[in-house]
């Protein structure tokens, strides 16, 4: 379903209102007066009903609202966590960006962000099919080595460290993206195996090695 940007905003606002425990949205509160054509668009798709000048979800609309808010909050995460654009600007960019997250783009972003469950403000992101699937498969996505269980095997995805020397040391030890890695033990130090060699590292280093199952 392709909706106008304003219509999506109304759905999001209505979702937030419901999250806060109320059942209807006062159009005045979001500054989109009732005579705006986007309301007609939404009622036309039987997503909302308007009673006594207040906006209510229809069950189908709630479903659509969920998808819309999901995109919005994913966009927020992307802006703030990955692109490091914060504050009002981040919020503004997220509002623009969310409208592009359709037709499967949201699944890609969600997977890249490793299926986040909350937005940067702490509000829940409704899980999508991809999240449920990942959970069912036990797919952790890309996580630091510290999140692995002893005995778990995976592949090195990337190394994230500010310290160049550390990075080079790790790479010289065979910690290179694409190599298979097995976590042998996690306490008191991390022991992992790459190829036929075993290495011990401390928690700080283990945090910087990112692995995928």
């Amino acid at each position: 379903m392709k909706l106008s940007e304003k219509a999506e905003e109304i759905l999001e606002a209505l979702w937030v209102v419901e999250e806060e425990g109320r059942t209807f949205l006062d159009p005045e509160k979001i500054g989109i007066p009732l005579d705006d054509p986007s309301y007609a668009e939404l009622t036309g798709h039987t997503l909302i009903v308007i009673r006594k000048g207040m906006v209510y979800f229809r069950p189908e609309g709630r479903e659509e609202g969920k998808i819309t808010i999901r995109r919005h909050r994913l966009a927020e995460r992307l802006m703030m966590d990955v692109l490091n654009i914060r504050g009002d600007e981040g919020e503004y960019k997220a509002c623009q960006f969310e409208h592009m997250l359709n037709e499967g783009a949201d699944v890609k972003v969600c997977t890249m962000l490793n299926h986040p469950s909350t937005c940067p403000h702490g509000k829940p992101i409704p899980p999508g099919d991809c999240c449920a699937e990942a959970r069912a498969k036990g797919d952790l996505g890309i996580v630091p080595l510290t999140e692995f269980k002893s005995g778990q095997e995976g592949e090195i995805a990337y190394i994230q460290t500010e310290d160049n020397k550390k990075m080079q040391k790790l790479m010289a030890m065979g910690v290179l993206p694409g190599n298979k890695i097995k976590l042998v033990q996690a306490f008191p130090s991390y022991i992992f195996r790459v190829g036929y060699s075993e290495f011990a590292i401390d928690t700080n280093l283990a945090r910087e090695i990112f692995v995928r199952k």
């Binding site: 550390k166 030890m173 993206p177 130090s189 022991i191 190829g195």
Partner: protein, 661 residues
């Protein structure tokens, strides 16, 4: 040298044009074993990464020609990060060896080939030795060396140097080596383009190939950058600008990209060369390894090792049984009376007699201490240490204690110098150079100087205090407490980055008896060369002090100091001894106790103060060499004051609580 473009290194004048072969490779791949096998000389070999911190040289006759063989510390890459790696690369840069033997571990062929690629790329005369073939075969790996040789275009030899396998092949490969056309390794178009842009600005002919140097420059290798500043005075600005431009463009991931490209090259090289079994073979060594690194089993295992190794073997057997036998039965009962009578018969002057067989005589005191008390203790300790070292236990111990060591500003890596310190603090101080940061090295040096008693001292003190129950406990607790306290303080006070811990775990192996014994023997030899002259010197000085009356004055001067910590004035002698050798001082206490001059409290205070007291001359000299005058003096002064202060407080505490009376 600063102005010349073509860097030529003169071959050393001695022996004219002796050909050189350098051994390089990752840590713990058996370079030192190979060195020993080739030269028949001996350098310490161990199952601990990074043990060879120095370059060893020996000579070997290969096919009728004399070669100089150079053993280098382990390095992971031509682009060096740690101090040892830099030392190793110096050899390649400055000595232009005629053959470079790259030794690697067959089990990790793919990973380690990345360095072979770098060496070949640098235009060095490389022979590849695929070592530890025996263990690779046990794991079911099969390796097609013929195919690898074709692909690399250099001689490739399989070996198991610890089992003397492949040695003849290596010798003949060295003898018949001719620089041929080795394989060319091509990187991605992007990288090759970058390299070309840098090499364009190089004008001289260098010791390594331009391609390799360009890559080092792009990796921002400080040393190579500095060298270029010297070599290409005029062209340097343009070169630096180009390098700066490319490194900026690729700042995000140059190191990573390069590593991945090299990995891909290595991967292509070993395709079909190495065939691994479907199922991983689990060896008994791996089972024991697992037990030793799990806290639940590892800690009890450590206690067992310490109890049987240190307490039973070194303490009871070495410091007890053997010392008794040598010191009491041999020296006191037989040798000393005999030699005293002999000297008195030959030398008529009493003063000279005193020098050899008097109270502080070279023979009756110096030699007796060295051979009768110190030798058995140190020998048993080194046997214990060498055995443990060869099993590969130490890296596992390191990871077990890393978390705790972090509190005192060290990493698990410091376990080796600390444990070795219980053998000989001087040797241990030397080994602190394997630690990564300056901060760690200083903290470790300080703790070694202060709170780690060496085996000789430890043995004597154990012997002394075990006769006064409770005293040993007080002493032990004091040491542990002070070790932790000073460590905590030092890590708070010392500025510097927080250390990181990483370590390769070598496989657990059953040590070969021969290797353990040779290693113990060479360590003993080193130790004896170190201590015997000092013991003799101390005897001579003490004798001089005695006949000139200076000694009496010293003791007199120190009496108030001794008295303030509740000790009889005779202990001053032990402290003066202690400056020559820690163990010498402790052995001096031993004498005092036998004479019944001290009670339990005094013994404990004396033992604690003496353990903490200023390091012996040898240790002090090594401290100076490793850390510089300033740090060494600062540590020396701090340690002396701290020892005195602790002695004072302990004495007051014991007087007040009366727990030892």
């Amino acid at each position: 040298m600063a102005t010349c473009c073509n860097k030529k290194v003169e071959t050393p004048p001695v022996g004219g044009s002796v050909k050189k072969v350098a051994l390089v490779g990752n840590p713990n791949v058996g370079k030192s074993v190979l060195f020993n096998a080739l030269t028949g000389a001996y350098v310490t070999v161990s199952n601990y990464p990074g043990t060879s911190v120095e370059v060893s040289r020996g000579s070997a006759v290969i096919a009728g020609e004399t070669w100089q063989v150079i053993d280098t510390p382990g390095m992971y890459s031509i682009h060096t990060i740690t101090e040892e790696e830099r030392v190793a690369r110096e050899i390649l840069l400055n000595e232009s060896p005629d053959v470079v033997l790259h030794v690697l571990d067959a089990r990790n062929l793919e990973r380690m080939l990345a360095m072979t690629v770098q060496l070949i790329e640098a235009g060095l005369p490389v022979i590849l030795v695929v070592n530890i073939m025996d263990e690779a075969e046990q794991m079911g790996l099969s390796i097609d060396l013929e195919l690898l040789q074709q692909r690399l275009g250099i001689p490739v030899i399989g070996a198991a140097s610890a089992r003397k396998r492949g040695l003849d092949d290596i010798r003949s490969a060295i003898a018949t080596y001719i620089r041929g056309s080795s394989g060319q390794f091509v990187y991605s178009r992007l990288l090759e383009n970058d390299i070309a842009q840098v090499t364009e600005h190089m004008s001289g002919s260098y010791i390594l190939s331009p391609k390799s140097l360009a890559l080092l420059l792009l990796q921002q290798d400080e040393e190579v950058t500095a060298l270029f500043k010297q070599w290409d005075r005029d062209g340097y600005a343009a070169l630096a600008e180009k390098v700066g431009e490319i490194t900026f463009d690729r700042r995000e991931s140059f190191h990573l990209d390069l590593s991945i490209e090299r990995k891909d090259i290595a991967r292509k090289l070993i395709k079909d060369v190495i065939v691994a079994p479907e199922k991983r073979v689990i060896t008994w060594g791996e089972r024991i390894s697992t037990l030793s690194v799990r806290p639940l089993t590892g800690v009890p295992l450590l206690l067992i090792v310490l109890y049987f190794g240190l307490y039973k073997f070194v303490g009871e057997f070495g410091a007890g049984t053997v010392v008794d036998l040598l010191e009491k039965q041999l020296f006191e009962a037989i040798f000393n009376p005999w030699v005293t009578a002999l000297v008195k018969r030959i030398i008529p002057w009493e003063i000279i007699q005193e020098l050899f067989v008097g109270e502080y005589g070279i023979i009756t005191l110096g030699i007796r201490y060295a051979v009768g008390i110190i030798l058995p203790i140190v020998a048993t300790f080194f046997i214990f240490f060498s055995f443990l070292e060869d099993t590969g236990y130490f890296p596992r111990l390191a990871l077990l204690v890393d978390r705790l060591f972090k509190y005192i500003g060290l990493t698990g890596r410091a376990v080796i110098p600390m444990v070795l310190g219980f053998g000989c603090d001087t040797m241990a101080t030397m080994v602190t150079r394997t630690l990564e940061t300056k901060r760690e090295r200083i903290i470790a040096t300080l703790l070694l100087a202060l709170a780690i008693p060496c085996s000789a001292q430890l043995g004597v003190i154990l012997g002394l205090l075990s006769k006064a129950p409770g005293a040993l406990l007080v002493w032990g607790l004091c040491m542990l407490l002070l070790f932790i306290l000073v460590g905590l303080l030092a890590s708070k006070v010392m500025p510097g980055e927080s250390p990181m811990f990483y370590m390769e775990l070598p496989p657990m192996r059953l040590p070969q008896l021969g290797n353990v014994l040779t290693k113990t023997y060479t360590r003993m030899q080193w130790y004896f060369m170190e201590i015997l002259p000092l013991f003799i010197l101390a005897s001579v000085l003490l004798w001089l002090g005695k006949i000139t009356g200076f000694f009496e004055k010293m003791i007199l001067a120190m009496t108030p100091v001794m008295a303030s910590i509740g000790l009889p004035k005779e202990t001053a002698v032990a402290f003066i001894f202690g400056f020559f050798r820690r163990d010498y001082g402790a052995a001096g206490l031993y004498d005092l106790q036998t004479k019944g001059l001290m009670d339990a409290r005094q013994l404990t205070v004396a033992a604690v103060t003496l353990t903490l007291f200023i390091p012996c001359i040898a240790q002090f000299l090594v401290m100076k060499n490793e850390r510089g005058w300033k740090t060494a003096s600062a540590i020396g002064v701090f340690v002396s004051l701290f020892a005195y202060g602790s002695g004072y407080l302990l004495n007051q505490f014991l007087l007040m609580t009366r727990i030892l009376t």
